[in-house]
């Protein structure tokens, strides 16, 4: 079974960490990452930029600065896209929104992206469906 682990924290605290504090946390995390990689359990992992860097696309093509802030909807899925800039990202989101008009898309830039390095990753992905 494929799982995604979603990490929550207070961004004003985390983004106030000094470089040393940040590096210390990342170093401790990377020990776990390496262990999971060895065990063949780790897929893609990534760290997001703070919500101040986010833009939200609502139905009907309405673009709002900032993160998705409602609590009535739940997180149901996410995409990673590789595009030139925010306009291109919004363009992709608008296509998705047209296909699924009730969904809201928060466009959040990625700060750190660690790709899946497992040789058998694609097979497992198909298996999960």
């Amino acid at each position: 079974m494929l799982y995604t682990l979603l990490c929550y924290n207070k961004e004003d605290v985390v983004w106030s960490w000094s470089k040393e504090e940040d590096a210390a946390v990342m170093a401790r995390l990377s020990v776990v990452h390496e262990k999971l990689v060895k065990e063949g359990k780790l897929g893609t992992s990534l760290r997001l930029l703070p919500t101040t860097a986010a833009t939200t696309l609502r139905g009907g093509g309405i673009v709002i600065d900032g993160p998705f802030a409602e609590t009535k909807e739940q997180l149901l899925g996410f995409y990673v896209i590789d595009v030139e800039n925010l306009d291109a990202a919004l363009d992709a989101a608008k296509q998705l929104s047209a296909a699924n008009p009730t969904s809201v898309y928060e466009i959040r830039p990625i700060a750190l992206y660690v790709p899946d390095t497992r040789p058998d990753a694609p097979t497992q992905m198909i298996k999960a469906y």
């Binding site: 207070k10 004003d12 000094s18 930029l49 703070p50 860097a53 900032g66 830039p109 700060a111």
Partner: protein, 419 residues
Amino acid sequence: MTDLTWIHGALTAARPQAVGALLRYFRDMNRAEEAFQDACLRALKSWPEKGPPRDPTAWLILVGRNAALDGVRKQSRTTALPPDEEISDLGDAESELAERLDGSHYRDDVLRLLFICCHPDLPATQQIALALRIVSGLSVAQIARAFLVSDAAMEQRITRAKQRVGGADVPFETPGPAERAERVAAVAAMIYLLFNEGYSAGDDPERAHLCDEAIRLARLLLRLFQTEPEIMGLTALMMLQQSRLAARFDPNGDVILLEDQDRRLWDVKLISEGLALMDKAMRHNRPGPYQVQAAIAAIHSRAPVAEDTDWAGIDGLYLALERMQPSPVITLNRAVAVAKLHGPAAALEMIEPLEKPLAGYFHYFGARGAFLLQLGRTQEARQAFDRAIALANTPAEAAHIRRHLDRVIASSSSEAAGH
């Protein structure tokens, strides 16, 4: 990270909102600060044992408020009976907590705090000192070290600032849109001044920390004004400049110019956040000086090597900036782009009329010397560099020019040897 480091981070992050809320209760800066201090001391005792509360900010506000009211009660017991409303206030902790958790006051509380620090009656130096003390929570000693003054002098500066805003008309009600925009602009200007204070400090880590603090305050302001492109621009501008920190100085602390920096040392995370904010700002089609300056910084950030820099783009952006806020300093900056595009002679001609307004400006003579040197006019270059050194603000600036001067001397002595 130990528990205490975690607590320190939580206290720092909670500070603007907590002090802002306590100020709303007490309408007195010193009392609000003391109450917060009190709550922090209790947090340091209680959190390591009991674990952090679910909402540290709400906890700090409640505990700080109750501790201060307790103090009032004890004081009044020895003199007279406390007023009823103050005692009954202690009982409604639960409903207070509920009110706090919904965060409805958050925006106004933090804004009020920022507005007070940037009160128009305060000179810029006092605004910065007050913001660092009250919003950022730096100690007086830390601020004094960052501004190279004695603790006593800084204490006095902050006390004076507090007295001034204490006596002034402090806006407890939310100001109207026009006044609000004006005051937000004042907060932004204070944050950028703070940043420049750190940025121009050379590689002194204590002062360079001011840049991180300015970025933290900008993020705070941006959370309050999520749709304001100039705040996005300001935040992006500082992030893009700060991304070069590790590449800006050599091991001796001497300045390394942008074009000579090892770009692999640039902070990719800060650059991507700055560029992301610029993308957001551009969508608003409401350009302003911070956005234009950030766009200039972004051109440098996007160039993998100095030779790839889009100097025509930079020239155009400086032209736009000149139109927004005409200033000889901006023209001087544009001349650097012009030198790259059309050669040093064109740049020199462009800055000639600036000599009078910039007669006391270090960078004017630095740039003039560099253009003259490129043109082979070494004697004049030498004079310009001499004046630059006399005007240098930091030892790093002076050392940088001195290296230029050494090159002039070396080339002229080799010329002399050749004759």
